[in-house]
Amino acid sequence: MAKTDSLQGTLDLLVLTLLARRPRLHGYSIMAAIAEMSEDVLRAEEGSLYPALHRMEEAGWIRAEWVKKESGRRTRVYELTKAGKSQLAAEELRWQTVTSAVNRILRMA
């Protein structure tokens, strides 16, 4: 199966889900986790990941914090907020609705 980055509309859901399971991830590990868990099927491009993170931060779904790494560099880690949890639920519901609808169509066809 070809790699796809057609994550349109699902990137938020993926990021929120990941952060719900594993809090305090930084940008790179979110990207790596998406690739790893989808067995490289899904890839979040850096070009869309960071704007998405900043947008969700803006919306108040996630919050960011600077932490020091052993190397001395600071890195920015993200975690889910309360608003993010309910957003995740909403996104999940939307995803289920959409996929089941698509599945229904596929089965009928």
Partner: protein, 883 residues
């Protein structure tokens, strides 16, 4: 992140960018440590700058961020030309400040509703028509019995409220030696409840305080007076004071916001109308009547009904034998009742200064427009100089709106700086102008708060100003065509046309301001330098009261005592000083004829008064101690001419016919040269009568008020005032000086409004002239610089000086000429609106037109000279080499 944090981020933009940068750096670090190729990781992250922009925009409010950038850029632009920017800010600040001051004064006097329950339902009653003096006019004073009839009739439709003219009177809290002045006003008891004014302490009047004459010797003091005089001592309630012949008890303090219903005056003490001595008199009018209409009441039927009641009252009062001529009677009964909305109250100052303030407002608006035109030209020149930069911005993708915003930001910055300066200027100047109104010992007091009204006006003004001087250059800058600009200049003539249009506008405003200022100054000069007919030199006036009223022989004793004081040359007495503005008039009957339609004016004076005032006796003799009122009279030339048709009337008799039909026979003892009586504007027929007054039984009557007129030896009569004050009371303890003034002050008091107008107009004329001159200079120099290349080439080709100067100066001179003609036209039209403020100054006067012409000519010369010199000094060689 909230909206606020996004706003905050706008102002810490660098920080936000650094954060984003650092996050990306750590991302690449991570990637490398995971074994990815550094170059590949960087490439994967994409164009860092673009990424940053995208994330940055998410974390700030983009438009606010760009405004911030524009403002910073504008500030740098302003800083680049410090001197011109400072000049622009200064001139705008002055103009904005002056406009704000004019607004504050006009608002405080004429527009601001009174702080009462329903100002929109307030009306003031007045009568319009021919007066008892047979002159047309409008009067808002009423007699109390008439008021009571109208009030009863209006029940259910409106509540009528009587409010007397505030009187600057003597009050004493302890002994008579500690007499002080306070603004006292008689108000109808129902006033406070119907205005819904609350007490700040104690209680206020109710209707029951105002039912029977002399029954309620109570007073309510204003909050302002409470604060000023008593330091807000709550124990003041219950205090008593003397006023007039009575003792009053303070029962309360009125609410802070309420300062009376007469803008220009802040009332200190309110007293019930029933305590006024004229409250039962039908023939004495002494108060204004305000009407508070009931909600939804129709005004015109109300007016008609009040008119009918008033007419019946007057007809009844004036029926039977009176001292009035039949013509006057008819005229007076034909007076029209008026019921005008008065949400801002009613005051003399409103009447006297409405037009004057409007005129000043118009002048300062012109000055503002001139200043705006200057700054607009400055901005236009600046943006022209930045044409290349603008072109570059357009070529790399800046939108038109973005460029407009860029230039407007600079204008807004200028306007904001100026408005800060303007606010300071207004804060300082508004009270100053108010203090110039009214005489020194009784200055006008206007409440000048800095509230949302003023703020709103300021904001509107600034927005207007920015649009006025910023929008046109901004639009012009934004319409730049990169191709033209980058090729080395676009068509310069369009820009020149704009500038010359501005110059024409500027010149016409300036011409108008100078023209009107000339009229005001000339009016003032004519009035102030008018011979009064008497000498005010070294005259000190001691306005004196005696309690109880004292026989006139005692008054003479006091005068005698004063004559012994060192430094005093002469002492005489009069009922009141000339030009104090008050009068006593009656009809005249000669040889038993019916009373005259025109009135004669009277003043009682002591023997020697004529000499003290240096009014020359033309024939006959002065009064002697033995002369008394009635019988003896000295008349002025106007009286002799008008009533006796006789230049040599000594020995003739005439009768003084009073309203109450009594007649007093008088014989002319002397004729004096005309001198102004109550106003310097009109010469009245005057009869001087002796101070000694005998009633019909031959008994000498007593006087409670009079004025000692003292000619001092020193040139500063006021130096003696405190000593003379004491000497009066020392001579007889029943006498107290209530006011000390110089005759000079009274003379100047006649021209206060004219002086104010002349001073302010002159000031703004100079400012307007300077600004217009600077504007001219700027445009001329600019056009020389613009044409420098052309001038250089022409010089190199051997052009004569005249040929070089003509194109540079020609168009500007044309604009100046056009502007002057427009200004003159506007000036001639404007005189119609300010006619009542002028005195003998005619716009058709050649000198009135010559002054602004000369001023403009001078400005042109001073502006043209440097530009011509600069043009002629152009060195073609160095210029062409530089190209």
């Amino acid at each position: 992140m909230s909206f606020w944090s996004r706003i905050a981020n706008v102002f810490r933009s660098e920080r936000v960018n650094c954060d984003i940068e650092e996050e990306f750096a750590s991302h690449i670090d991570e990637a490398i440590s995971q074994g990815r190729d550094p170059a590949e990781a960087r490439r994967a992250l994409g164009n860092a700058l673009r990424q940053r922009e995208k994330s940055h925009d998410l974390r700030v409010i983009p438009w606010l961020d760009s405004v911030r950038a524009d403002v910073i850029f504008g500030w740098r632009q302003l800083k680049r030309n410090r001197v011109t920017s400072a000049a622009a800010v200064l001139s705008l600040a002055l103009a904005i400040g002056a406009c704000t001051t004019a607004f504050r004064l006009i608002d405080a006097l004429l527009w601001r509703p009174l702080p009462v329950a329903h100002p929109e339902r307030l009306y003031v009653l007045s009568r319009k028509g021919m007066g008892f003096d047979n002159k047309p006019g409008e009067w808002d004073s009423w007699a109390y019995p008439d008021f009571q009839l109208m009030r009863t009739a209006a029940k259910g439709k409106a509540e009528l409220i009587a409010i007397s003219y505030a009187d600057r009177a003597d009050v004493t809290y302890k002994t008579d030696q500690e007499m002080e002045k306070a603004m006292v006003q008689h108000v109808f008891g129902w006033m406070f409840p119907s205005f819904e004014i609350q007490p700040a302490a104690g209680r206020l009047f109710t209707e029951s305080d105002d039912r029977t004459p002399e029954a309620a010797p109570y007073a309510v003091i204003s909050y302002d007076y409470w604060n000023r005089r008593f330091g807000r001592d709550p124990g003041v309630v219950g205090h008593t004071f003397h006023y007039g012949d009575g003792v009053y008890q303070i029962i309360g303090v009125s609410e802070k916001k309420f300062t009376g219903t007469e803008p220009g005056i802040v009332v200190d003490i309110f007293i019930p109308t029933m305590m006024h001595r004229s409250v039962t008199r039908q023939d004495s009018t002494w108060f204004r009547t305000l009407a508070v209409a009931e909600p939804g009441a129709a005004i015109e039927p109300l007016r008609e009904m009040l008119a009918a009641v008033n007419h019946a009252f007057e007809a009844n009062r004036l029926s039977g034998e009176t001292g009035l001529s039949p013509v006057t009677l008819q005229n007076v009964l034909k007076n029209q009742m008026r019921l005008e909305p008065a949400p801002t109250g009613a005051s003399e100052m409103q009447r006297g200064y409405r037009q004057a303030l409007a005129a000043i407002g118009a002048l300062v608006l012109m000055v503002l427009l001139i200043a705006c035109a200057n700054v607009a030209n400055l901005m236009a020149a600046k943006t022209a100089a930045r044409a290349r930069e603008m072109a570059l911005r357009v070529s790399i993708g800046a939108g038109r709106l973005r460029l407009v915003r860029l230039v407007l930001a600079e204008s807004a910055l200028l306007a904001l700086l100026s408005s800060a300066g303007g606010a300071l200027f207004s804060w300082w100047s508004a009270p100053l102008v108010v203090s110039m109104i009214n005489p020194r010992d009784n200055p006008a007091r206007l409440i000048l708060p800095a509230d949302w009204r003023v703020l709103g006006f300021g904001m509107t003004l600034i927005t207007g100003v920015v649009l006025l001087f910023g929008l046109l250059p901004a639009l012009r800058a934004s319409s730049v065509r990169p191709v033209n600009a980058l090729q080395g200049g676009e068509e310069p003539h369009a820009r020149q046309r704009l500038m010359h249009g501005m110059i024409a506008a500027q010149v016409s405003f300036c011409f108008l301001v100078v023209f009107v200022a000339g009229l005001f100054v000339s009016s003032f000069e004519r009035l102030a330098n008018k011979p009064t007919g008497f000498s005010a030199e070294r005259l000190l006036l001691l306005e004196t009261t005696s309690r109880p009223a004292q026989p006139s022989t005692y008054w003479d004793q006091v005068a005698d005592h004063l004559r012994g004081v060192p430094g005093v040359e002469r002492v005489s007495q009069a009922g009141w000083p000339l030009l104090k503005g008050i009068g006593w008039n009656d009809s005249i009957s000669v040889n038993g004829a019916p009373p005259s339609v025109d009135l004669a004016y009277f003043l009682n004076v002591s023997p020697g008064w004529l000499e003290t005032m240096k009014i020359p006796l033309l024939e006959g003799r002065d009064f002697r101690e033995s002369d008394s009122y009635p019988q003896a009279a000295i008349v002025n030339e106007t009286f002799a001419r008008k009533f006796l048709q006789d230049a040599h009337p000594v020995g003739r008799w005439f009768e003084k016919a009073s309203d109450d039909a009594s007649r007093e026979r008088m014989q002319v003892l002397g004729v004096v040269r005309d001198a102004y009586y109550s106003s310097i504007r009109t010469m009245l027929p005057v009869v001087f009568v002796p101070l000694h007054h005998r009633d019909p039984t031959g008994r000498m009557t007593s006087l409670s008020e009079g004025t000692f007129i003292v000619r001092t030896a020193s040139s500063n009569p006021l130096a003696l005032s405190s000593m003379l004050r004491e000497e009066v009371s020392r001579a007889r303890p029943e006498f107290h000086v209530s006011n000390v003034r110089t005759q000079q002050e009274l003379n100047e008091g006649q021209t206060i409004r004219e002086r104010l107008l002349a001073t302010l107009a002159l000031f703004f004329a100079v400012v307007a002239w300077l600004l217009a001159g600077i504007g001219l200079y700027g445009v001329l120099i600019y056009s020389v610089i613009q044409r420098q290349r052309e001038i250089g080439i022409r010089m190199a080709l051997g052009a004569q000086a005249g040929d070089i100067v003509r194109p540079v100066v020609g168009a500007t001179l044309y604009a100046v000429a056009l502007g002057s003609i427009l200004g003159l036209g506007a000036g001639l039209v404007s005189t119609r609106f300010i006619e009542s403020l002028l005195y003998q100054a005619k716009s058709s006067d050649a000198s009135m037109v010559a002054i602004p012409c000369l001023a403009m000519g001078l400005a042109v010369m001073m502006a043209v000279a440097p530009a011509v010199v600069r043009a002629l000094r152009t060195n073609p060689v160095s210029l062409l080499r530089a190209e």
